[in-house]
Amino acid sequence: MPNQKDSPDLPAKDSPANAGEFRVIGVPRRRVDARAKVTGQTRFADDIFLPRMAHCKLLRSPHPHARIQKIDTSRALAHPGVYLVLTGKDLPIEYGILPVSQDEQALCLDHVRHVGDPIAAVIAREELTAFEALDLIDVEYEILATISDPEEALATPEPRIHEYGEEGNIHKRVALEFGDVEKSFAEADEIFEDIFFYQGSTHLPIEQHAAVATKDPDGKLTIWSSTQTPHYLHRALAKVLQMPPAHIRVSATPNGGGFGGKSDPFNHEIVVAKAALLLDRPVKICLTREEVFYCHRGRHPVLMKFKTGVKKDGAITGMHLQTLIDGGGYGSYGVASTFYTGALQTTTYHIPCYRFEGCRTFTNKPPCGPKRGHGTVQPRFGQEVQLDKIAEKLKLDPADLRLRIVESPDTVTANYLRLSTVNLSECIRRVVKTSDWKEKFRKLPEGRGVGLACSAYLTGAGLAIYWNKMPHSGVQLKLDRGGGVAIFCGATEIGQGSDDVLAGIVAEVLGIDTFDIRLFTGDTDLGPVDLGSYSSRVTIMAGNAALQAAERARELLAEAVAIRLEVPKERLRFADKSVFDSAAPEKRVPFHEAVCLAEARFGTIGTVGSYTPPKSPALYKGGGVGPSPTYSYTAAVVEVAVNPVTGWITVPKIWIAHDIGRALNPPLVRGQVEGSVYMGLGEALMEEQEFRRLPKRLSHALVHKFPSMLEYKSPTSLDMPDVVTELVEEPDPRGPFGAKEVGQGPLLPIMPAVANAVYDAVGVRIDEVPITPEKIMKALAEKRAGRNPRYGPRHFPHVDWPEALRVPPPWEGGDGNAVNDVPRHSKPRPEKEKVLSS
């Protein structure tokens, strides 16, 4: 019988500084879902095969912007093997992830907004039959003008891509001011103004989106889906299908990667649910890779203008940031993304005065949404590259400059984000040391360079997607007379290791092995609500809920065992599957007996734990995006080699230090760091969600330039450099056992560190992502011609910014509220959405 321990004595190299304090936490171990995954037994959504299962394919718009005049599905319906054809009139109710952007329909009724927008669905006996029948659906379109980028959107108010939003094709504008920024510039010794552009990219999970829906034996709806957010999907299904949520079960299958691309409720999920109900048979859909590119919800392309005032010693006096965001065809998380492009600038370095203006426009392209780092990645690039320029002008080492201005722990920032532990200084010191920064910076031969950058990231969004007063995460524990423990929680395993986090925490508290624990996660029928796997919230929120539930269980067991052993319960220890007297360890009962004693005394044992984030001091409108229980910090040094003739860049090595609070399972944590580095490198060097126009003699449609894994460039294992990872562990009181996040933070510093390294290597600034050989060569040509050796955007378009909401920062006596009321540009906000739609 294979034993959890048939693997190995793993060396203690990864143990934290306080090794020996815990038996499970911080000890390298195989993650709980590993065996199933490496033996190919994990059931992902597309691995589900049910009797009588039918297959669904979606017909998608070939036009970027059009009205549907007519759809004739009769030929498709007549095709042998086709069971059902659905169109927009079968699913007209609008939905969307954010209450303020309920702008999607499962199948477009009359208005398509990007190439790939779904308009009809065929459900057939085989997948290929469904594909064939798509060609038999006749559609007449009225073509509308295409809006291809934000500048065009600003200049083209009609035709409107959406009837809601602020005006024309502007989705959302934000203007916030914390302190008098103009005054802060007057007090500065130097002012820096830079414009940066960050291109969009997609998540590229190896697993495409897939879902299987069925009417289960007692007539209720069940859907298995590769989703990161079963709870939000649950709410959307109830709304669109007009069914009580209690009659719908959503089970999130383990994701083969999500990265934010699977956190919206999707057209294909709602379609298969509807089809399953109509046909009374299981219906499966798996998106093709090309469809995943068009489904998107990836990194927003953002144009940024930074104006920063600094003193000679590097202290920042004030910052004014403007962002122009390309939203694509739908809202998705976009309003939150807009706020995120301004929210976290103040979390790393002290910024006493801050003004932020952001504008998101609609365009006729696949909708953008959250991708690892969600909206904070783009401005972090700008901020870190600008800081490099500032350091150069002030003749300061970039590491030294940052060390001087790092924000302090336990403070509230100008925009009212409450920081807990801040170990950014230690992260900087570690990468400086391990990379030999002092020997290399500005000292390597021509063509070789190093660059440094830092970042911060949230550990979970402080507010839920829909306003409510309930916990963000809940855990139920069941304890068996046989010594087994079951964890029930809505948290979703997307590959980040959330199941292992939950098991590790419970195993530590109860003194058992993670192998003794069963997990039932991501299922709306089985476990209490967890809001989902996004914003790096799971370790801290589900983890704290699990900790509470486990401690309550331990309390019950301790009470019962204390009576049996006649020992004060405070002296009892839970370890090695036993409960024993710490003063006399031979007085012990095995764990399973402790459960029996407790059950005999109290009745059936079951405990719950829940977690709600602390209230944020940011009380102003818009203050809901940015707050988090605590923030992680990262510093990275990237070494590059640039060929000055071809512009070709290679990255031989990366040193990275991450302030994680506590690494609950060190190999898992290192995996997340390396995975973040990998994804950051992809964005830095090669990934671009680019669009082109088909020739005029065809449809002239705005299509994705390379919607395939062959052409969309993403790093392979051969491109991956050696990564030296340092974990900085000062336990944070907000996290379970002090843990903070690691799934997203380590990605953010990579792109600016690459840009800074390229400057160190060949003396050119690429103020854009991705940093490609073509751009380097153009900048080198500028350099040779004696002009500004830079490649990047030159111009930030005019935007009619609204009057800024003025919120005095804490040190000016502010209380988190705005001191002015601003007139609304948009229609009045709809009634606060009821918590349960019915």
Binding site: D6, D9, T39, F49, I206, G671, S708, M709, S717, V723
Partner: protein
Amino acid sequence: MIIFPVASQKTSHIRMTLNGEQVDVSFAPYKTLLEVLREDLGHTGTKHGCELGECGACAVLLDGKPVLSCLVLGVECDARNALTVEGLGLERTLHPLQDAFADPCWISILMRVAIRFAQHSPASCAGAPDISRFLRPLSPPWSRLRNRMDQRNSIRVRGCLAPRS
């Protein structure tokens, strides 16, 4: 344009060896080996990711050589020998490479290294070789893999290691 409608196609039949056992299977002739494995043989451990042979999630060993099963037709596999991730381990313990990896994205690498291991390791149980030592002589991409495994505390495995022949 529909050239050969599904409804008109007869099924094909092959007999092959899958993970050491003989199987007979009938399927629509247009199917790839990947589809036959997943849909007709119930072996869903091999995944699809890109439809065009770029991602490696569909890698299997066919007659001992790594192939992308999404680019191999089912009808090409009559009388041949396939090894998938389900067949990598022995009955009692994980194959040492399964032990070292815990991520489906590594299936492709896992399959390729498995074949190298089968070529170089002794046929009988021989103790506990260190995986990293095995990988050391391999060419640069694999040595980078070795470095990464060293970084992650590469694992010493006890037990029988000979893969199924």
